[in-house]
């Protein structure tokens, strides 16, 4: 029987036999587990990065591509920062819900002092990203310019208005709005922190006991590319739901999502090839777990989600960027983008979940 397609128990027994020929024996125990809040955290942190990246780059792309009016650029930027704020908050709540002593984590500047730990580094990155996303969102949502703007992404203004604080918010934002160069600096810092969400991959890849994670190139890149693609895709999808215009700026982001999804798929494929070539018994166990039973469906969802988003994003992106989209293609391309990016979100989340669950069936070393 092929050990790669055999039931997990059989493969483990077989692999144990193989290892028995070496100088050191291993035995198999169920590993510790992290609940599903952890993959959710690992996912949302990078999605937040994708949203902020979209919001920060929208003005530059709009200038480069000569956007017809400022409305689409404004919508993309606001939805981007909104995705950033909500996802970062979700990531924070997800990770906090997992901890035993939440207060100590909330007091992270005092307690998280080990800067060799990716959790410490990641906390600072996520907090920095959240602060920048919130500041940028506030300056996009309020003030005289925002008051004159239109678009679904301005819905928080209505909420603030219901509280009777809209006028005050507009006045304060106009009064304290920093000069363009400072906003540019914030956008640049936000973009850098968005890319720094690659830390989520390093959190797993430094764990030497789990061969499935211990791939310092494949896992961080797969997390970064798939997560940023999901964040940008979510922003573009939200914009398209309300705007339904396939302008070049939408095409540019669609192509970016397609490219990032393709790169994410390549990183996943590279990681898979490293895993299957590994002689480590734990690698074989993870491989069997990923190709059998429930997790196999998740594995296919990852491949399918990234592949479809890559093809649709690049295709529609090329059409929109080259100006070949018309009424007919617009009617098809918009829903196609939204649907494929929705699938991408599921696939990107599934990537984190299956990486966690396949490692849950990972053995630890027992001396003997």
């Amino acid at each position: 029987m092929d050990p790669l397609t055999a039931p997990l128990e059989f493969a483990i027994a077989l692999e144990s036999g193989l290892v028995g020929q070496s100088a050191v024996d291993h035995y198999w125990l169920s590993a510790d587990y992290w609940d599903l809040s952890i993959p959710l955290y690992l996912f949302l942190a990078v999605v937040a990065g994708g949203g902020v990246l979209t919001g920060a780059t929208a003005p530059v792309l709009a200038r480069l591509l000569g956007s017809a009016d400022g409305r689409l650029e404004g919508e993309l930027a606001r939805w981007g920062f909104l995705v950033g704020v909500v996802s970062a908050a979700g990531a924070g709540l997800a990770v906090l819900s997992h901890l035993a002593v939440i207060l100590r984590a909330v007091l992270f500047p005092i307690y998280l002092t080990n800067f060799e730990s990716w959790i410490t580094i990641g906390t600072w990155i996520l907090v920095g990203l959240s602060v920048i996303a919130t500041v940028c969102l506030v300056f996009r949502l309020f003030g005289a310019k925002a008051a004159a703007a239109e678009g679904a992404s301005l819905f928080p203004r209505a909420i603030v208005g219901k509280l009777g604080l809209l006028e005050l918010a507009d006045r304060l934002v106009d009064r304290f709005r920093p000069p363009a160069v400072v906003m540019g600096g914030l956008y640049a810092a936000g973009s850098l922190l968005a890319i720094a969400t690659i830390y989520t991959g390093f959190e797993l890849s430094i764990v030497e006991t789990v061969p499935l994670w211990n791939m310092p190139v494949a896992v961080p890149l797969a997390f970064l590319f798939s997560g940023l693609a999901a964040g940008i895709g979510l922003t573009v999808g939200l914009t398209l739901v309300f705007e339904r215009r396939l302008e070049p700026i939408i095409g540019a982001y669609a192509a970016m999502v397609g490219l990032l999804s393709g790169l994410g798929l390549a990183a996943v494929w590279y990681g898979w090839s490293v895993l299957t070539a590994s002689d480590a018994p734990a690698a074989a166990a993870s491989q069997v777990a990923l190709t059998n039973g429930t997790l196999a469906a998740g594995s296919w969802l990852v491949v399918f989600g990234l592949a479809v988003a890559s093809v649709v994003g690049l295709l529609v992106g090329a059409l929109a960027l080259t100006g070949r989209s018309g009424d007919g293609t617009d009617r098809l391309a918009g829903p196609a983008l939204i649907g494929s990016f929705g699938l991408l979100l599921l696939g990107s989340l599934a990537l984190r979940i299956i990486l966690l669950l396949a490692a849950e069936q990972n053995p630890v070393v027992v001396v003997g």
């Binding site: 144990s16 036999g17 028995g20 100088a23 050191v24 024996d25 035995y27 125990l29 590993a31 510790d32 992290w34 997992h98 901890l99 035993a100 002593v101 100590r104 984590a105 307690y111 998280l112 002092t113 080990n114 060799e116 730990s117 990716w118 959790i119 410490t120 906390t123 959190e203 430094i206 764990v207 030497e208 006991t209 789990v210 490692a359 630890v364 070393v365 027992v366 001396v367 003997g368």
Partner: protein
Amino acid sequence: MGEQWMFYFDPNRCIGCHACSVACKQRHDRDADADEWRSVFHVSTGEYPEFEEVPVSMSCMHCHDAPCESVCPPDAIIKRDEDGIVTVDRDRCIGCHYCAWACPFGAPTYDDEGLMSKCNLCLGEGAGGGHGQPERKTPEEGGVQPACVSDCVGDAIKAGPQSEVMAEASDRAAERFEDGAYDQRVIVEPVDDDAAVAEAIREGESTAGAVTYEG
């Protein structure tokens, strides 16, 4: 920096009685159903009539490179300079479980509070009991023997400064350790089959006290 303390384990002398894990729970006043700081596993290989079972006793190995320490965000895990024992400051632990993933031996356990606790080589008693304690002393210097060591009926577990433990290991175990077995985190005697033991006895080699009831 003092000499690294470490564990030695001889599966050939272990009879799988679990006295070590029970002694550990008693010394540290832990509930009977609490997760074990020292566990005994029965590793079986082969099928009848080739079936073989080897008991294995494991705990925190107080690794020289302590992967749990480097990943712990709040610096709650401390690799002590004076004796190399890895202790836990539970007043800093946030209960993230990162150490459990990093540990190659599955040593960290989590209680009802969600905080980490593990073997402290009987440096102190109870969860987090080793934290802040003075340098570990050998029984000859007036220190207590770890409970698992003193209660092991087959002398399968030893603990102490590396040089002392190495001196008691067989040549094969020492050689394997020097070659990097288990990343030099613990000294383990190779599991002998009876034929290998018989051969070793005939050749006059040390067998490190292999237990056998045949031949």
